[in-house]
């Protein structure tokens, strides 16, 4: 990653105000000039308390009516960015975006990462339904939904999977029956992340039960406060989770909330799944970092070997093998990112990211619990170190990595058919 080129000594926020550089000129500047200017603006506006608080890609404020910002500084940082259109820098200015290019957006994101600053706003609104509405929504829908997303006023969740429709998403059965200007919706969604904290849900519903599979599905926007919508959190084998079930009982939704055409929601859904995949793939790399150091530290504790060569050749071998695979994987992620930089389609190597990344994560935790031995058996309480307790949970949770976001089996099918050209 390119280092932020700001004048030395200017990486710390100054207490005196710095005049806001008008964004309008950004498209005329060179990218390098933009980088310097953006960095200055960020340094001036990001509250000092937020520096260094970002660790993962999804750190940040998720917005919405149900979960206020955790601190005043978070709210202030959001407000500053909203003001400048930088919660969605490359969305149209008339909808509250920054009117910049993908490259400008990337530069802003690089600066934030460099400074370990959280983005002002994250979530499915910005990452999924926003782009979808920009591509497929009508003017009224954009005007109604994009500005609240950009301002962090509405939090969205995704209603795709159903108990009977997992890998085979197109077999979904939640029914929407037309009644005057409304659709009446009955059914159930599952694996809806943060449904209990969201204000709106974008959902796939079956509008034509006679049509085959993909046809007859409609993409619709539903206000979660509508009568008949309820949610129930899902408990996992690793403990509580962000996942929920969402139930629709006789829920009336205006037909105007249909995105795209009735019965032709699959096209919209597929495009949106594309946004989701790229999010998961890119996130996978980050989650693997530091696995080697963590495993070596664990092994040193478990084997009473604070320094030098680990006394277990087996453990050494397994850690090194995993570390090599992870290093190769991280390079593969970089190859994919690099390959897509010129706006090109990702190369065939991108198809392996999900299946390899999730398997590596499982291997990491499998190896960690093996090394930790009896210390990996904790569930809660103080007989086990906090670090070991989270290991147990993380280990269990990692079994889900090869299932969620497209099972490994589905991914392998895709690689075989679409990359390897098998019949």
């Amino acid at each position: 990653m390119k280092r932020v080129s700001v004048p030395a000594g200017r990486l710390e926020p100054r207490s005196d105000a710095y005049p806001i550089v008008p964004t309008r000129g950004a498209l005329e500047m060179s990218l390098e000039d933009f980088r310097a200017e953006a960095a200055l603006w960020i340094v001036e506006n990001a509250p000092r308390s937020l520096y260094g608080t970002r660790s993962g890609r999804f750190d940040g404020y998720w917005g919405g009516k149900k979960q206020p910002p955790v601190s005043e500084d978070v709210a202030r940082w959001l407000a500053a960015c909203v003001e400048r259109g930088w919660t969605a820098p490359d969305w149209p200015t008339e909808l509250g975006g920054g009117g910049l290019s993908r490259q400008h957006t990337e530069i802003i994101s690089e600066i934030l990462t460099e400074l370990k600053l959280p983005p002002p706003l994250v979530g499915f609104g910005l990452a999924m339904i926003g782009p979808t509405l920009l591509d497929f929504g009508n003017d009224a829908q954009r005007a109604a939904h994009i500005p609240p997303i950009v301002r962090g006023e509405v939090r969205w969740c995704q209603g795709y999977s159903e108990p009977g429709a997992g890998s085979d998403l197109a077999s979904l059965a939640t029914r929407a029956v037309r009644d005057g200007d409304d659709f009446v919706i009955d059914g159930q969604k599952v694996w809806t992340s943060h449904a209990d904290k969201s204000d709106w849900i974008f959902a796939l519903v079956r509008t034509n039960p006679d049509a085959k599979k993909q046809s007859g599905i409609t993409f619709i926007l539903i206000d979660m406060s509508t009568h008949g919508v309820s949610t129930r959190p899902i408990e996992l084998i690793s403990g509580s989770s962000p996942f929920c079930e969402v139930f629709f009982e006789n829920v009336r939704v205006p037909a105007a909330n249909v995105v795209g055409q009735v019965d032709h929601g699959w096209t919209v859904a597929k495009a949106l799944l594309g946004y989701e995949r790229s999010m998961i793939g890119a996130a996978m790399g980050g989650q693997l970092r530091d696995a080697e150091a963590d495993l070596v530290a664990r092994a040193r504790r478990a084997l009473d070997a604070p320094s030098g060569q680990l006394p277990s050749a087996l453990t050494r071998d397994e850690i090194a093998d995993l570390a090599m695979d992870e290093a190769c994987f991280n390079v593969t992620v970089q190859r994919v990112i690099e390959g897509m930089k010129g706006g090109k389609k990702p190369g065939s190597e991108s198809s392996i990211l999900k299946v390899v990344g999730s398997a590596l994560k499982q291997r990491r935790f499998d190896l960690a619990v093996k090394i930790a031995g009896p210390e990996s058996q904790g569930w809660e309480g103080d007989a086990f170190a906090a670090d070991d307790l989270s290991l147990t949970r993380d280990w269990l949770r990692s079994r889900g990595n090869t299932i969620e976001g497209g099972t490994s089996e589905v991914q392998l099918n895709i690689i075989a058919k679409h990359v390897l050209g098998l019949p």
Partner: protein, 373 residues
């Protein structure tokens, strides 16, 4: 060596399975995990009534004097439903240790009640539960006034919370380890229950100036932990049989699920990739079954290779369970990850079974040592 079951053995296995299915179905775990007692005294009484606790005890002490072959059958049945009762701890590890190392007096005093299930015995010998490096000297014994004073802490000790009698290893001032039989309620002993991933009973046991007499010594003064090898081998086979039952059941649950779960218009069990993986799980389970069969018979026959085969059974059965549970969760898909389905319990159980009495890598190394390489 004959591996097919005798009629008596078939009957033991059948009735054990019936007992577990009716009295100890896996659904119990959901209730038990939120209760202070992590296993059911009522269920334990039923097991004792059925003779499970007496299988490995000699007749003269009220036992049935059968052997590990029979014990493995009931442990396998218990493992199918992950019954958390202290069968292996009390009826195998404790009973065997007393039988193999105890004086006449100790055997007379302890075994009859172990055999009828009224006494729960458990081991407290491995620091931090690490049987692969069992003694780091966390519990020490001083000699005072012709007796002993024991101090120290031993964490991650299985099945001790509800135990009546413990076998404790303590390191003396000369570095040698001595085993003691100790009343679990003796003055100075505190047991702090631990919350484990498998929901089983375990505790950190603290010894504060616990006074013991020479008559409490089990085996030789300073005789070392190796004295327990015979008991641990038997325990390993017990654990292996339990893990084998769990692996078998995890595979069955998965097979049932993939036969009925419809995606893309067909049962997912019709997908060849899953079929081949399930066939492989089946093969691993059957190999592990062979391991348990031969280890239990070898030890019952007093064969020289008993210890080595016990290590094999432990490693192979736990490995089979790990694979069956992981593949199970994967094939259940999303619901396999939810607490609502039972398949996750089998993976959690593996964590505890694998580390108990030494993990698979430990037992492979032990096999190599016993084979002289």
């Amino acid at each position: 060596m004959a591996f097919s079951l005798t009629e008596d053995q078939t009957q033991i296995a059948d009735s054990a399975r019936k007992l577990v299915e009716t009295q100890a179905p896996i659904a119990r775990l959901r209730t038990l995990r939120s209760q202070p007692e992590r296993w059911s005294r009522k269920c334990w009484a039923a097991m004792a009534e059925a003779g499970w606790t007496a299988l490995c005890v000699q007749e003269r002490h009220g036992g049935l004097d059968l052997g590990l072959t029979e014990l493995a059958l009931v442990a396998e049945a218990a493992g199918r439903q992950l019954a958390p009762e202290p069968l292996v701890s009390s009826a195998v590890l404790f009973a065997s240790a007393v039988q193999l190392l105890g004086t006449h007096a100790q055997r007379d005093q302890l075994l009859a009640s172990v055999a009828d299930g009224t006494r729960i015995g458990a081991l407290c010998v491995a620091d931090g539960g690490r049987y692969d490096a069992p003694d780091r000297g966390c519990v020490q014994a001083r000699i005072v006034d012709g007796g002993f004073i024991v101090d120290g802490v031993r964490s991650h000790t299985l099945d001790v919370t509800l135990a009546d009698t413990l076998i404790v290893a303590a390191r003396g001032p000369n570095g040698a380890v001595t085993l003691f039989v100790v009343d679990a309620n003796a003055t100075g002993i505190t047991r702090t229950p631990e919350a484990r991933v498998d929901g089983r009973d375990a505790a950190t046991v603290r010894f504060d100036s616990v006074r013991l007499a020479p008559a409490d010594i089990l085996g030789e003064l300073g005789g070392g932990l190796a004295q327990l090898d015979g008991a641990l081998d038997r325990g390993a086979v017990g654990v292996a049989a339990f893990a084998l039952g769990a692996a078998t059941r995890a595979l069955e649950l998965t097979l049932d699920y993939v036969r009925t779960r419809i995606q893309f218009g067909v049962a997912i069990g019709s997908f060849q990739a899953l079929q081949h993986r399930l066939a492989y799980v089946f093969a691993k389970v059957e190999l592990a079954r062979s391991g348990v069969l031969t280890a239990s018979r070898a030890i019952d026959a007093g064969a020289a290779d008993g210890p080595r085969l016990a290590s094999m059974a432990k490693a192979k059965a736990c490995d089979a369970l790990e694979l069956a549970a992981k593949e199970g969760i994967q094939m259940f898909g999303g619901v396999g990850m939810t607490d609502e389905y039972d398949i996750g319990f089998y993976l959690k159980a593996h964590r505890g079974l694998d580390t108990w009495l030494g993990d698979s890598a430990h037992h492979r190394a032990r096999w190599a040592t016993l084979q002289g390489y």
